[in-house]
Symmetry: C2
Subunit: 414 residues, 2 copies
């Protein structure tokens, strides 16, 4: 298409729906399948943009909701937009903030007009509507912006909120308490109506590519209905939303496998907030091109290290005299720089910032290298050698390869 985004498919798998391509937008291009590190508040936590770039990341994600509240979208606009603000010269995608607004909303303040909520920063009252969400993203100036969708909560996500964001759990549970299927239908149809309003409100359609979002929860018929509605508008890209909200990996894969083929092959497909390595691979094989997830940075800050053969917790006492790097053969600044597991463990036990920094760099590099290797596997149809190089992708691998402690989602920060 002409306009704000061009998507070229270079290679397609012979054995599945995976494809290798390249997306070009106003601030450059990125290879697909692409993994986007999350920089919620215009910063990938603890990392200079140059360090993020060195992980191989070609596009990053900011969160419109957080930047709208602080420092304010009009201020970011006046300061030159998110690229100039945070000094990331490459492509940026902003999530619309729908998920955050819904999570914070008083249920009495949700209607077809939009969502009213109180700022978690200062208690001030804010209103998000499709028009306002697009205005915010027009002000921020990212290359790819997301439609303002209706994000119905899942039962599972309520449980997760209780554990991770207890302050949000009560409002969330009130929403979940309604008849769930009726609520999913409402969300699908509202998302479609709002998408039309987003398109109409979009003031910079030649510079910013607006992606529509398919909802529908785990229900196949609803996913079809939503995809049909969303795809009826010719947009530069389409996203799969409403997954990774607390359900199992199995459920995520089923939903993605049924939804991805409903989206036009000529447009990039973006799976929001997923996930672990095997979830990414399954989605890529179903035809998904773009991913974002907080896992590498959030786990990294908490001492969680990703490797090709599974994850481990660096604080564990068994690493206290371990002179090996996080992962042999890794070229990230932590492993390539010669920092030992013993030193990294020391940094975490001593509360030194450098621990989260090094582990975030390693983990992001892990996901970026995974993308590089998956692209090669797609071109060469070399899936079994991919799995040999990345045992964590083996569906027969045990719990080490995938675990319950943190799943990817749109609900929290990077």
């Amino acid at each position: 298409m002409s306009g704000p985004l061009r998507f070229e498919v270079d290679a397609e798998s012979k054995s599945c729906d995976a494809r290798v391509g390249r997306v070009s937008v106003a601030h450059g291009s990125f290879d697909t399948p692409a993994f986007m590190p999350v920089g919620t508040r215009a910063s990938v936590k603890g990392l200079l943009p140059s360090q993020v770039r060195e992980t191989g990341a070609q596009i990053i994600l900011n969160n419109a909701f957080h930047l709208m509240l602080r420092p304010g979208d009009a201020r970011v606009r006046d300061l030159g937009g998110v690229h100039a603000f945070m000094k990331w010269s490459g492509p940026i995608l902003t999530d619309s903030g729908g998920f955050q607004a819904w999570s914070l909303a008083d249920t009495n303040r949700i209607n077809d007009e939009g969502v009213t909520f109180r700022s978690p920063i200062d208690g001030s009252r804010h209103h998000l509507s499709p028009e306002r969400a697009i205005e915010v993203q027009n002000n921020l100036g990212a290359d790819i912006i997301m439609a303002f969708d209706d994000c119905p909560p899942s039962v599972a996500s309520s449980e997760r909120l209780k554990a991770h964001r207890p302050e949000l759990a009560a409002a969330h549970e009130r929403q979940v308490g309604r008849d769930h299927h009726r609520r999913l239908v409402e969300a699908v149809d509202r998302t479609a109506r709002w998408l039309e309003r987003c398109v109409a409100a979009h003031a910079r359609p030649q510079e910013q590519a607006l992606f529509g979002i398919v909802q529908g929860g785990p229900d196949e018929a609803l996913r079809r209905r939503s995809a049909e509605q969303v795809v009826s508008l010719d947009l530069p890209g389409y996203a799969i939303g409403g997954v990774a909200v607390g359900e199992s990996s199995e459920a995520i894969r089923t939903t993605v496998a049924l939804t991805a083929p409903l989206l036009p092959a000529a447009r990039p497909r973006y799976l929001m907030g997923v996930g672990y390595e095997r979830d990414l691979l399954a989605a890529i094989r179903a035809g998904v091109d773009m991913f974002d997830c907080v896992l590498p940075t959030r786990n990294g800050r908490n001492g969680g290290a990703f490797t090709r053969s599974g994850r481990f917790q660096i604080r564990n006492a068994r690493f206290s005299e371990d002179l090996t790097p996080i992962e042999e053969g890794c070229d990230c600044p932590a492993c390539g720089g010669g920092f030992s597991r013993a030193y990294l463990r020391h940094l975490f036990t001593a509360g030194e910032m450098l621990g989260p920094i090094l582990l975030s760099l390693h983990n992001i590099r892990h996901f970026e290298r995974l993308m590089v290797d998956i692209r090669a596997a797609i071109r060469d149809d070399a899936w079994s050698s991919l799995v040999r190089a990345w045992p964590v992708l083996d569906p027969l691998a045990g719990a080490a390869a995938s675990g319950p402690e943190v799943t990817g989602d749109r609900s929290t920060t990077s």
Copy 2:
């Protein structure tokens, strides 16, 4: 001298006792006057060693007390020493931990043998003596190690501890409560006796340069007495301790001006824990060659920015739309990287780690550039042009150039 340290003086000022030189030790050499960033727990907080190096720093400081408690000096030895542990290949100096041990000690547990104290980490009981302090530093393996000295508290430092480390203030005050002059005399003589024990205990004299420390508080006669005792041992270098423990800049300068000339000109002179720019300049003009201070990193983590014309607090609302860098013309990663004051303020108000990181980089670069410019001023006897380029050095400058909120000291972490 042959042995673990060589000091060459390249140029001497025509108008004062300042000199430009170079110190060579086992892991390389550094230009003097030198400013050493503080990496208390084997990490300059938030920075990769490569980033520290890029500030121009050629030598860094670690704290033996903190590393003895965690991860343990024997463990660091088994892991290859501090250089291998933290991946800093250049010169490292370890402070002996005397100051920390004294601050934590139960007054009933201080005697000529040493100091007994409880670990602030886990409450375990530890004993530091001259022999043990040297053993710890032999295990850590820094290029320059410090004698275990008797650090008498000052009245002023008690007040500071109440504000900054209330958990230490009570024990501190008990010490201060004793007759202060008698205590200073005791500290001077004990420091001398302990220095002989340190020299005798030093197991790696060909690889690690042991510096003696002159005590004596603000008292001229005691400083002379201490210097005479310490200098009676032929050591690779000498330090001025017991300053910057809460007294005024004026008092620091008076003590340094009287003590520095008492130390042999052929050896590097190290002023511990100082300080602001004007204090450094005054000490350099008195003949001091080496400095360490937590100011650039600690202030940086709290939003305090150093510039050639004074300091400011980046959180201040007046910077919220300020597109200029911290300081025009600065080549640090924050200023040279194009990050605006507005963005830095956002990072601090949002609690993003990148704020402390960028400000620490800027502040360390500020002090390293100051050393570069002072070295040039010494060579060229160009003091007035130095002060023109660094208005903060102007003794007529107001409070903006030097302030009370944080002074340099040995008491806390980087």
